[in-house]
Amino acid sequence: MSTAVVDYTREEPVVAGRPTASEIDAVVSAPLDRPPARTWWIAFGITSTMLGIGVVCVAVTLWLGLGVWGVNQPVSWGFDIVNFVFWVGIGHAGTLISAILFLLRQRWRNGIARFAEAMTIFAVMCAGIFPLLHTGRPWLSLYLTPYPNQHALWVNFTSPLLWDVFAVSTYFTVSAVFWYLGLVPDFATLRDRTTHPVKKLVYSIFSLGWRHSSRHWTHFERAYLILAGFATPLVLSVHTIVSFDFAVSVIPGWHTTIFPPYFVAGAVFSGFAMVQNSLIVVRQVFRLKHLITLSTLEKMNKVMIVTGSMVGYAYAMEFFVAWYSGSQFETFVFVNRALGPYAWAYWTMVTCNVVFPQLFWFKKVRTSIPMMFVIAIFVNVGMWFERFVIVVTSLSRDFLPSSWGHYMPSIYDVGIFVGSLGLFFTLILLFVRVLPVISLAEIKAVIPGAQPERHRPH
């Protein structure tokens, strides 16, 4: 039994060991300087094939119509919206880590913020495919924007779908700007390091003339703080608005006031799971274990247990409110979820989202890489099923039993989902080859001894 006393007055070091700034530059930018390894090519081959499958399925959909999907009359939204909400949810962790945790001065975020933000942007790109594709006539999507026209036609500001358009596009824009802003000092570092003339030119352009001067740093810090403040409400708003797609409707199982917090918690939950999954691979492959420490991963697991429990609470509360409301439609929807034709999906969701993350109460599990990796995968699966349960079961059996139906995805639905996964991981693979996966500037700020520290008398 270890008798080591934890000193809570001292912050745990975020970075293990005492790497120097140049060592950090070297290790983080190493993948950028060498040609990709064989394993990278294999991974890239797999993900781009998945992407190709998706492209083919999208082309078929555009050519023939939505009829190639599994959607039908009661269930007019299927994999399309499930995947949309799933990907938007994945995208949540990035902004949460980079903005909220930044404002809360959580130093451990510095090692993972860059990667999480990149993931956010890629996930929102994946998410963006689906609302576009799910319309019957995607070539008329322009109608969803309020542009002045001679017909005096305007959009409908009472429709949550329109709010979605604004919420998601704003979120994407702010995330991308925030991400790029953080990259500026790193581009300068890379520019300074490289000898390759083309790279030098490219890095020079993107570094916007950064000279590491104090004035630059002052402006940078201020801009970063403002953007963090700007992005923080977006973390809450985007998924809140996505949840309005359902909550504003009259369909039992959708028409619920609990949806906004429930969706945000779920989004953070799934986002952290996806970040954790990806980071475990990245820190292993690129030998970044000392920069993304086990302790950081453990902290992420703690976030997961909190949000997972919130989600579990929401599941229970939905049942309670359905019963308490006395509305027979509401009651039936939830009984039907648990016992009806889609019970398998419901119980998959509960098992993955509520039961497995509870294992993180055990420190052994929380700090075991294989265990956390598997649990995070379960969480991703479970959160996908959560969206499936919400979208499909509610629609398949609503008010009039005569129009109840059954939804079965087609191969094109599955293909486009595979394609979105392909797009996501292809972008991740490209990202790790061309940009530093850890923010050089930020991680240097949290290496031991980087900050002025009052000498502690013994």
Binding site: S76, R137, S159, V250, F399, L400
Partner: protein, 1016 residues
């Protein structure tokens, strides 16, 4: 300088004399003249531009491949009576089924676009049925034959000319007479007196001609019973509207037995809560679940083979109650014994006896045509005993009666096989498919030297003949039809023949007089002559014939005086032949008429294939309907296959577990499984004619099965309504619990109209209330009157250009119909109670679909319509998700292109479309519009006439089609309008009103006219 003669060229120098003069004139001749318009070219600037434009247009058209040359006639000389944009109505007769209803054909710019009932017709009175509504598609079916064509028996292949057909037919007919071979005409019952005369003349012209008349559903058993009981096979139609009590024995009088349009109207009319609190009481004793059974006040589940003992027991019980001495009837079990053995509720049977006795003379017991002659004899006796014969009207006309006895058909087929027949003409019949396979008609046809089939679309018989002769469809034909004594319905063409087709009567006429050249007027003149000589004089009209003829064509129907009828004399000795048969413990198969395809004739009509079966909601298939207990016994479920064999043959059928089916019974529809019906109708369902015994040409259609066994594999039936097990408590009676269907008992309603528990309350709302001023549209549907027959669905399909999507798309849940009939069950799987409810867009005031559409493609009109703007719709489908009634329909594909390789995109289908309604493209949401095109037309008329539009004239397509008149539509702000009374009626309710969506469709609760005991 001036003196010197300067020159610039040799020419100038040599011509020195004239040059100075020319030089002195600065301007050319005429240039300085005064302007005189007279001298100008006669071509004005306008003319010049016109010429330029014309030459440019000529040059442009000369460069295009404009193949329609000479076919599009611009209305620079406007045809009389045609105003572009304005519909013309012509009276005619629908011959899609033997009911021969009077119709009004709506034509637009010369092409028929819609059929509806002729209000002046005394039988159907302006109403129609689903098959009739969809019949418009038969005219424009791309599969129609466009010229005479060779069949399998011809030497060559390809199209042939009519001249060659005529000369060859004349030669063959002459050869038959010379060689002493028989000439056979195969025909369906001829309802036209003129055509009947023509056939007689044909027989006279070609002695030895045999006319074979057959019809699968021709009430033959009923007729032979009448022959036995009353000495005449001429039936006397029941005056249904006078009946206070109807007992239907395996008779689907509201489905497809007899004059269904008239019967539906009569039954519904006698259940009109707005008119009277007294309803007709309807009992249905049946083994198959039929529309009549689901609409009955009492339904008793009885195997068709037990009907005779049931009727006899009933007769004895009635006689005992009336203290009459019944004639000697075969001994059999009494009602209590039958109730015990067959599981019938004895209480209901006692009520039945009481009602028969109490309402004697005002009730009718009516047996179905699938039952054998004995049952009909017993039923006739029971009606006789009760004095119910008072409800019989005048005997039906001679045109309705004759069909050839099965033995004669068999002997003719034998003659054909023996080579004694030299010439067979099929007058729009398809015996190769229809006749029991054991008769071997297809083989017999091969031994005939010359055979022709007159048909509009190639069929199984035509394929085997020497020639297929394309004939006019009903909308291109002349005719007169009599199916009710004293009523002659006229048929006139409403469009010039689309192709090189001929009217079949004209073909016969041409063959009869080889010297006269063919003309399109041949039969028209024959018909007119017949009327002038035979019909007109007997009417005693004061006008001249031509005026009369024009008026008759205008009205579409002529009523003739009906002579007094001799009273019916019942012959009691008919009862002597009654034999109660022992039925072994084996399955029986009852072969039903298809709900909408007739005898299979309309198989290529996609709209009819896609109309859901009124009970099971299955589309594009027939199936073996069995009871849940039978399914357990056979170890099968719905969609499994079973093999059914009778003495004549066997078939493999998909199973559909139909609640309410009698035990030991398999109910299956005829009319499916055609193998050469056209691209849409071929190989849809299973042909069950192999089960028919040789003698079963026209009934009875209850056949004993030799064996029934589970077969390997399965077959997916597609239905428009998901099926839920009745005994699943999880979802049981949801339609009642959710107040979707409201039902009550008539007697309790009479005591207290508010006993139905319908409360109307104004719900709180956070959104401001929208006030509607002026006309506001609303619809009410009377569930007492609605039988669930689907006529409204078919009518809506035609009016609103709905596509046919095919079985595979229906199976995926993408049916497109804007109005649907929901069917709900309550009770037990053995004895279910069914409810029908038409469901369509409710045009909610607070429509949930409207606020979620991001592009305002669906919004509200000032007159209360929930509108769809197709051009603006991007297809997010959010509106459909948010619709509590799920009545929105999405174009997942361009369905016209998707079905059968774009079958319904081929010409001339596009000519059929209602020009007032947009044909929707792929990716667009659509739904019921309350027939906004009709509203706008009426509004336009009011504006033109300068009167305030009060909305009185508007009738929606579903309302117009409804034979039960269950649909009321109008301006709810008009206190005098029917709709206002319906909305305020104590039995009126809205579906899902608690959502505060404020639907504008209300329903009248269904009241069951049962005795005061509570429903079990």
């Amino acid at each position: 300088m001036n003196e010197r003669n300067q020159w610039r060229s040799l020419h100038e120098e040599q011509d020195a004399g004239t040059t100075p003069e020319m030089k002195s004139q600065e301007f050319m001749d005429g240039v300085t003249d005064a302007f005189d318009p007279e001298t100008l070219s006669p071509l004005s600037r306008k003319q010049f531009l016109a010429l330029m434009a014309a030459s440019a247009a000529f040059a442009a058209t000369g460069c295009t491949n404009y193949r329609d040359k000479g076919e599009i006639v611009p209305y620079n000389k406007k045809p009389e009576e045609v105003t572009p944009g304005k519909a013309n109505l012509y009276a005619s007769t629908c011959t899609a089924c033997p009911q021969a209803c009077g119709i009004l054909v709506k034509t637009r710019e010369g092409r028929p676009v819609k059929l509806d009932g002729n209000p002046d017709h005394p039988v159907n009175r302006g109403r129609s049925c689903a098959t009739g509504q969809a019949a418009i598609l038969n005219l424009y079916d791309p599969a129609r034959l466009r010229a005479p064509h060779t069949g399998a028996a011809a030497s060559g292949t390809g199209e042939v000319s009519w001249d060659r057909i005529d000369s060859e037919a004349a030669r063959q007919l002459a050869a038959c007479i010379r060689d002493g071979k028989q000439i056979v005409l195969m025909t369906a019952p001829v309802t036209s007196p003129t055509a009947q005369k023509l056939i007689l003349e044909f027989r006279a012209a070609f002695p030895g001609t045999k006319v074979i008349v057959y019809d699968r559903f021709h009430q033959e058993t009923r007729r032979s019973a009448w022959e036995l009981c009353y000495g005449s096979a001429a039936l006397r139609p029941v005056a249904w509207e006078k009946a206070r009590l109807i007992v239907a024995l395996e008779a689907d009088i509201l489905g497809n037995e007899g004059f269904t349009v008239e019967q539906t109207r009569a039954v519904a009319g006698a259940r009109d809560i707005m008119v009277s609190n007294t309803f007709v009481r309807l009992y249905s004793v049946e083994g198959t679940m039929s529309l009549t059974g689901t609409n009955a006040d009492y339904r008793c589940r009885l195997h068709p083979e037990a009907q005779l003992e049931f009727v006899l027991a009933l007769t004895r019980a009635v006689a005992a109650k009336l203290k009459l001495a019944a004639a000697s009837l075969p001994a059999g079990p009494d009602l209590a014994a039958i109730a015990h053995r067959r599981g019938l509720p004895l209480k209901t049977l006692e009520h039945l006896v009481d009602d028969l006795v109490t309402l004697r003379g005002k009730g009718i017991v009516y047996a179905g045509s699938a039952l054998n002659t004995d049952v009909h004899v017993a039923v006739n006796y029971l009606n006789e005993l009760l004095g119910n014969t008072a409800l019989y009207g005048p005997a039906e006309p001679a045109t309705a009666v004759t069909v050839t006895p099965p033995a004669d058909v068999a002997s003719t087929i034998a003659d054909m096989k023996a080579g004694k027949v030299g010439f067979v003409a099929h007058l729009d019949v398809n015996p190769v498919y229809h006749l029991p396979k054991v008769l071997g008609y297809a083989e017999a046809l091969k031994s005939v030297r010359f055979s022709v089939a007159m048909t509009d679309v190639e069929n199984e018989t035509a394929q085997l003949c020497t020639y297929m002769l394309p004939v006019h469809t009903m909308l291109e034909s002349w005719g007169d039809h009599t199916v009710r004594t004293g009523v002659i319905s006229l048929q006139q063409p409403v469009i010039a023949p689309l192709y090189a087709t001929r009217q079949q009567e004209a073909i016969l006429l041409r063959w009869m007089s080889a010297s006269t050249p063919f003309s399109e007027l041949l039969y028209q003149e024959y018909l007119k002559r017949h009327w002038e000589s035979a019909v007109f004089p007997s009417l005693g009209r004061l006008t001249d014939f031509l005026t009369f003829w024009q008026m008759a064509l205008h009205d579409g129907v002529v009523t003739t005086p009906v002579s007094a009828q001799a009273p019916l004399q019942f012959r009691k000795d008919a009862l002597a032949s009654l034999r109660l048969q022992e039925h072994p413990d084996r399955y029986a198969v009852v072969l039903l008429a298809s709900p909408y395809l007739g005898d299979g004739r309309w198989a290529n009509n996609g709209w009819l294939q896609e109309l859901p079966h009124p009970i099971s909601k299955v589309v594009w298939d027939n199936y073996a309907a069995i009871s849940p207990a039978a399914a357990r016994a056979l170890g099968v479920e719905s969609n499994d296959l079973i093999e059914v064999s009778t003495e004549s043959g066997k078939v493999t059928l998909p199973v559909f577990v139909q609640p309410g089916t009698a035990e030991q019974l398999i109910a299956v529809s005829l009319g499916y499984g055609r193998w050469n019906a056209g691209p849409v109708g071929s190989n849809v369902g299973v042909d069950v004619t192999p089960l028919l015994p040789a003698g079963c040409l026209t009934g009875p259609r209850v056949v004993r099965a030799m064996s029934v066994s589970k077969s390997e594999g399965s077959y997916a039936l597609a239905s428009t309504q998901e099926h839920h097990a009745l005994d699943d408590t999880f979802v049981k009676d949801f339609h009642l619990k959710r107040h979707i269907i409201r039902e009550g008992i008539l007697e309790e309603y009479r005591k207290d109209p508010h006993s139905l528990g319908i409360e109307r309350k104004e719900h709180e709302s956070i959104s401001p209330r929208v006030e509607f001023v002026g006309v506001k549209w609303a619809m009410a549907i009377d569930l007492n009157k609605c039988t669930g027959c689907n006529a409204c669905v078919a009518g809506c399909n035609v009016e609103n250009n709905l596509p046919v999507i095919g079985k595979e798309q229906v199976a995926k849940g993408r049916e497109m119909q804007w109005i649907r009939i929901d069917r709900y069950y309550s009770g037990t799987p053995e004895e279910p109670l069914a409810s029908h409810q038409p469901m369509l867009c409710q045009h909610c005031d607070n429509a949930p679909c409207e606020n979620v559409c991001p592009v305002v493609a669906t919004n509200h009109s000032p007159d209360g319509l929930n509108q769809m703007i197709y051009n603006r719709c991007v297809g997010t489908k959010y509106c459909s998700n948010n619709c509590p009634y799920k009545v929105r329909r999405f174009n997942f594909f361009n369905f016209r292109d998707h079905l059968a390789d774009g079958y319904y995109q081929q010409e001339p289908v596009s000519l059929m479309h209602n020009p007032e309604v947009t044909v929707r493209s792929r990716g667009v949401m659509e739904k019921c519009t309350f027939c906004v095109q009709r509203i706008m037309e009426a509004r336009q008329h009011a504006t033109e006439a300068g009167v305030t539009f009060d909305g009185k004239q508007v009738e929606t397509a579903c309302q117009q089609a409804c034979p039960a008149q269950a649909i009321v539509f109008g301006n709810m702000h008009d206190p005098g309008a029917d709709i206002s009374r319906y909305r305020e009626h104590p039995a009126g309710y809205d579906v899902l009103g608690e959502l505060n969506v404020k639907p504008n469709v209300t329903y009248l609760a269904r009241l069951r006219n049962i005795h005061s005991e509570k429903r079990a």
